[in-house]
Subunit: 136 residues, 2 copies
Protein backbone atom coordinates (compact mmCIF):
# COMPACT_ATOMS: atom_id res chain seq x y z
CA UNK A 1 0.00 0.00 0.00
CA UNK A 2 1.26 3.47 -0.88
CA UNK A 3 1.39 6.35 1.55
CA UNK A 4 -1.87 7.86 0.30
CA UNK A 5 -3.76 4.65 0.95
CA UNK A 6 -2.23 4.31 4.40
CA UNK A 7 -3.21 7.89 5.03
CA UNK A 8 -6.85 7.18 4.13
CA UNK A 9 -6.86 3.84 5.96
CA UNK A 10 -5.78 5.41 9.24
CA UNK A 11 -7.06 8.96 8.94
CA UNK A 12 -3.54 10.31 9.18
CA UNK A 13 -2.13 13.19 7.20
CA UNK A 14 0.56 12.09 4.73
CA UNK A 15 3.00 14.65 6.09
CA UNK A 16 2.38 13.28 9.56
CA UNK A 17 3.20 9.73 8.45
CA UNK A 18 6.50 10.91 7.00
CA UNK A 19 7.09 12.89 10.19
CA UNK A 20 6.58 9.76 12.33
CA UNK A 21 9.05 7.91 10.17
CA UNK A 22 11.58 10.73 10.46
CA UNK A 23 11.45 10.72 14.27
CA UNK A 24 11.68 6.94 14.35
CA UNK A 25 8.17 6.21 15.59
CA UNK A 26 7.35 4.20 12.48
CA UNK A 27 9.95 1.98 10.79
CA UNK A 28 11.05 3.00 7.30
CA UNK A 29 9.08 0.88 4.83
CA UNK A 30 10.35 -0.78 1.69
CA UNK A 31 10.44 1.30 -1.46
CA UNK A 32 9.10 0.59 -4.92
CA UNK A 33 11.27 0.94 -8.02
CA UNK A 34 10.04 4.52 -8.25
CA UNK A 35 11.19 5.16 -4.67
CA UNK A 36 7.63 5.23 -3.34
CA UNK A 37 7.06 4.03 0.23
CA UNK A 38 5.35 0.64 0.32
CA UNK A 39 3.49 -0.33 3.49
CA UNK A 40 2.09 -3.60 4.79
CA UNK A 41 -0.42 -4.56 7.45
CA UNK A 42 2.14 -4.35 10.23
CA UNK A 43 2.70 -0.71 9.37
CA UNK A 44 -0.99 -0.03 9.27
CA UNK A 45 -1.68 -1.48 12.69
CA UNK A 46 1.34 0.24 14.19
CA UNK A 47 0.16 3.56 12.83
CA UNK A 48 -3.35 2.91 14.11
CA UNK A 49 -1.88 2.28 17.52
CA UNK A 50 -0.01 5.57 17.34
CA UNK A 51 -3.02 7.54 16.15
CA UNK A 52 -5.30 6.07 18.73
CA UNK A 53 -2.81 6.80 21.48
CA UNK A 54 -2.39 10.36 20.23
CA UNK A 55 -6.15 10.78 20.16
CA UNK A 56 -6.14 9.72 23.79
CA UNK A 57 -3.59 12.43 24.46
CA UNK A 58 -0.44 10.38 24.99
CA UNK A 59 2.74 12.18 24.03
CA UNK A 60 5.06 10.87 21.36
CA UNK A 61 7.57 9.81 24.02
CA UNK A 62 4.90 7.89 25.94
CA UNK A 63 3.87 6.18 22.73
CA UNK A 64 7.47 5.32 22.02
CA UNK A 65 7.63 3.50 25.37
CA UNK A 66 4.33 1.75 24.75
CA UNK A 67 5.50 0.61 21.34
CA UNK A 68 8.76 -0.68 22.81
CA UNK A 69 6.68 -2.73 25.21
CA UNK A 70 4.44 -4.17 22.57
CA UNK A 71 7.46 -4.94 20.40
CA UNK A 72 8.82 -7.18 23.12
CA UNK A 73 5.94 -9.45 24.18
CA UNK A 74 7.97 -11.05 26.97
CA UNK A 75 8.33 -7.84 28.91
CA UNK A 76 6.47 -6.89 32.03
CA UNK A 77 3.18 -5.27 31.25
CA UNK A 78 3.03 -3.20 34.43
CA UNK A 79 4.95 -0.43 32.70
CA UNK A 80 2.15 0.08 30.19
CA UNK A 81 -0.31 0.36 33.03
CA UNK A 82 1.91 2.88 34.81
CA UNK A 83 2.16 5.06 31.71
CA UNK A 84 -1.58 4.97 31.16
CA UNK A 85 -2.34 5.64 34.82
CA UNK A 86 0.01 8.59 34.95
CA UNK A 87 -1.59 9.94 31.82
CA UNK A 88 -5.07 9.52 33.27
CA UNK A 89 -3.98 11.54 36.29
CA UNK A 90 -2.73 14.30 34.02
CA UNK A 91 -6.03 14.37 32.16
CA UNK A 92 -7.92 14.57 35.43
CA UNK A 93 -5.73 17.43 36.59
CA UNK A 94 -6.31 19.24 33.31
CA UNK A 95 -10.06 18.82 33.62
CA UNK A 96 -9.98 20.21 37.14
CA UNK A 97 -7.93 23.21 36.01
CA UNK A 98 -10.17 23.93 33.04
CA UNK A 99 -13.22 23.67 35.25
CA UNK A 100 -11.93 26.40 37.56
CA UNK A 101 -11.10 28.43 34.52
CA UNK A 102 -14.55 27.93 33.04
CA UNK A 103 -16.19 29.08 36.28
CA UNK A 104 -14.06 32.20 36.27
CA UNK A 105 -14.86 32.92 32.64
CA UNK A 106 -18.55 32.47 33.29
CA UNK A 107 -18.34 35.08 36.00
CA UNK A 108 -16.58 37.46 33.63
CA UNK A 109 -18.66 36.87 30.51
CA UNK A 110 -22.04 38.41 30.22
CA UNK A 111 -21.34 41.25 32.60
CA UNK A 112 -21.00 43.51 29.59
CA UNK A 113 -24.14 45.53 28.95
CA UNK A 114 -23.03 46.75 25.55
CA UNK A 115 -21.62 50.07 26.63
CA UNK A 116 -18.28 51.54 25.73
CA UNK A 117 -14.96 49.93 26.49
CA UNK A 118 -14.15 52.43 29.22
CA UNK A 119 -16.94 50.93 31.33
CA UNK A 120 -16.44 47.36 30.22
CA UNK A 121 -16.52 44.93 33.09
CA UNK A 122 -14.98 42.21 30.99
CA UNK A 123 -11.88 44.27 30.39
CA UNK A 124 -11.87 45.40 33.99
CA UNK A 125 -12.03 41.82 35.24
CA UNK A 126 -9.20 40.73 32.98
CA UNK A 127 -7.00 43.53 34.23
CA UNK A 128 -7.43 42.77 37.88
CA UNK A 129 -6.93 39.34 39.31
CA UNK A 130 -8.60 40.40 42.56
CA UNK A 131 -11.96 40.08 40.86
CA UNK A 132 -11.42 36.35 40.69
CA UNK A 133 -12.75 33.87 43.15
CA UNK A 134 -10.53 30.98 42.21
CA UNK A 135 -6.82 30.49 41.76
CA UNK A 136 -5.97 29.57 38.20
Amino acid sequence: MKIGELSRATGTNIETIRYYERIGLLPAPDRTAANYRSYGDAHRSRLSFVRHSRDLGFTIEEIRSLLDLSDDPARDCGEADRIATAHLEQVEAKIAQLTLLRDELERIVGRCRGGIAADCRVIEALGDHRHCENPH
Copy 2:
Protein backbone atom coordinates in the same frame (compact mmCIF):
# COMPACT_ATOMS: atom_id res chain seq x y z
CA MET B 1 11.43 49.90 37.45
CA LYS B 2 13.90 47.57 35.76
CA ILE B 3 12.89 44.37 34.03
CA GLY B 4 13.79 42.17 37.00
CA GLU B 5 11.47 44.15 39.27
CA LEU B 6 8.65 44.03 36.73
CA SER B 7 9.25 40.31 36.48
CA ARG B 8 8.86 39.86 40.23
CA ALA B 9 5.93 42.29 40.43
CA THR B 10 3.90 40.37 37.86
CA GLY B 11 5.24 36.84 38.23
CA THR B 12 6.44 36.88 34.63
CA ASN B 13 9.68 35.43 33.37
CA ILE B 14 12.11 38.11 32.16
CA GLU B 15 12.51 36.34 28.82
CA THR B 16 8.75 36.34 28.46
CA ILE B 17 8.55 40.09 29.02
CA ARG B 18 11.13 40.69 26.29
CA TYR B 19 9.23 38.26 24.09
CA TYR B 20 5.98 40.21 24.57
CA GLU B 21 7.80 43.39 23.62
CA ARG B 22 9.27 41.74 20.54
CA ILE B 23 5.87 40.61 19.26
CA GLY B 24 4.37 44.02 19.96
CA LEU B 25 2.11 43.02 22.85
CA LEU B 26 3.87 45.37 25.23
CA PRO B 27 5.16 48.78 24.09
CA ALA B 28 8.93 49.27 24.13
CA PRO B 29 9.77 51.13 27.34
CA ASP B 30 12.24 53.96 27.77
CA ARG B 31 15.87 53.04 28.32
CA THR B 32 18.33 54.17 30.97
CA ALA B 33 21.74 55.54 30.07
CA ALA B 34 23.03 51.97 30.35
CA ASN B 35 20.40 50.81 27.86
CA TYR B 36 18.37 49.06 30.52
CA ARG B 37 14.60 48.89 30.04
CA SER B 38 12.76 51.24 32.39
CA TYR B 39 9.10 50.52 33.14
CA GLY B 40 6.31 52.53 34.76
CA ASP B 41 2.94 51.66 36.27
CA ALA B 42 1.21 51.62 32.90
CA HIS B 43 3.53 48.86 31.76
CA ARG B 44 2.95 46.92 34.94
CA SER B 45 -0.82 46.98 34.67
CA ARG B 46 -0.72 46.14 30.98
CA LEU B 47 1.49 43.17 31.68
CA SER B 48 -0.80 42.08 34.53
CA PHE B 49 -3.68 42.19 32.08
CA VAL B 50 -1.76 40.03 29.65
CA ARG B 51 -0.69 37.51 32.29
CA HIS B 52 -4.15 37.24 33.74
CA SER B 53 -5.66 36.72 30.31
CA ARG B 54 -3.04 34.09 29.48
CA ASP B 55 -3.79 32.33 32.77
CA LEU B 56 -7.42 32.25 31.67
CA GLY B 57 -6.29 30.61 28.45
CA PHE B 58 -6.76 33.44 25.97
CA THR B 59 -4.41 33.31 23.01
CA ILE B 60 -1.94 36.08 22.28
CA GLU B 61 -4.08 37.22 19.34
CA GLU B 62 -7.21 37.37 21.48
CA ILE B 63 -5.30 39.39 24.05
CA ARG B 64 -4.09 41.71 21.31
CA SER B 65 -7.72 42.41 20.38
CA LEU B 66 -8.72 42.91 24.00
CA LEU B 67 -5.83 45.33 24.52
CA ASP B 68 -6.80 47.25 21.39
CA LEU B 69 -10.26 47.62 22.87
CA SER B 70 -9.05 48.82 26.24
CA ASP B 71 -6.66 51.24 24.54
CA ASP B 72 -9.60 52.93 22.90
CA PRO B 73 -12.15 53.58 25.65
CA ALA B 74 -14.72 54.96 23.23
CA ARG B 75 -15.09 51.72 21.33
CA ASP B 76 -17.95 49.31 21.59
CA CYS B 77 -17.47 46.86 24.40
CA GLY B 78 -19.51 44.08 22.83
CA GLU B 79 -16.42 42.83 21.05
CA ALA B 80 -14.72 42.05 24.35
CA ASP B 81 -17.74 40.08 25.41
CA ARG B 82 -17.77 38.20 22.12
CA ILE B 83 -14.11 37.23 22.49
CA ALA B 84 -14.61 36.09 26.06
CA THR B 85 -17.79 34.18 25.21
CA ALA B 86 -16.14 32.42 22.29
CA HIS B 87 -13.27 31.50 24.54
CA LEU B 88 -15.61 30.18 27.18
CA GLU B 89 -17.23 27.97 24.57
CA GLN B 90 -13.85 26.61 23.57
CA VAL B 91 -13.02 25.83 27.17
CA GLU B 92 -16.33 24.04 27.59
CA ALA B 93 -15.71 22.02 24.44
CA LYS B 94 -12.25 21.10 25.68
CA ILE B 95 -13.64 19.96 29.02
CA ALA B 96 -16.23 17.83 27.27
CA GLN B 97 -13.58 16.25 25.07
CA LEU B 98 -11.22 15.57 27.97
CA THR B 99 -14.07 14.04 29.93
CA LEU B 100 -14.77 11.51 27.18
CA LEU B 101 -11.08 10.84 27.01
CA ARG B 102 -10.85 10.35 30.75
CA ASP B 103 -13.72 7.85 30.68
CA GLU B 104 -11.96 5.94 27.95
CA LEU B 105 -8.66 5.94 29.81
CA GLU B 106 -10.38 4.74 32.96
CA ARG B 107 -11.74 1.80 31.04
CA ILE B 108 -8.30 0.99 29.72
CA VAL B 109 -6.29 1.52 32.89
CA GLY B 110 -6.31 -1.10 35.54
CA ARG B 111 -7.18 -3.95 33.25
CA CYS B 112 -3.56 -5.03 33.42
CA ARG B 113 -3.04 -7.87 35.88
CA GLY B 114 0.74 -7.66 35.80
CA GLY B 115 1.35 -10.29 33.20
CA ILE B 116 3.52 -10.07 30.15
CA ALA B 117 3.11 -7.52 27.37
CA ALA B 118 1.82 -10.13 24.93
CA ASP B 119 -1.33 -10.44 27.05
CA CYS B 120 -1.55 -6.79 28.00
CA ARG B 121 -5.02 -5.42 27.72
CA VAL B 122 -3.77 -1.86 27.92
CA ILE B 123 -1.67 -2.31 24.81
CA GLU B 124 -4.44 -4.23 23.15
CA ALA B 125 -6.95 -1.46 23.82
CA LEU B 126 -4.60 1.18 22.47
CA GLY B 127 -4.10 -0.75 19.28
CA ASP B 128 -7.73 -1.20 18.50
CA HIS B 129 -10.16 1.64 18.48
CA ARG B 130 -13.09 -0.78 18.42
CA HIS B 131 -12.56 -1.37 22.12
CA CYS B 132 -13.67 2.18 22.76
CA GLU B 133 -17.15 3.18 23.73
CA ASN B 134 -16.81 6.85 22.91
CA PRO B 135 -15.64 8.85 19.96
CA HIS B 136 -12.61 10.96 20.79
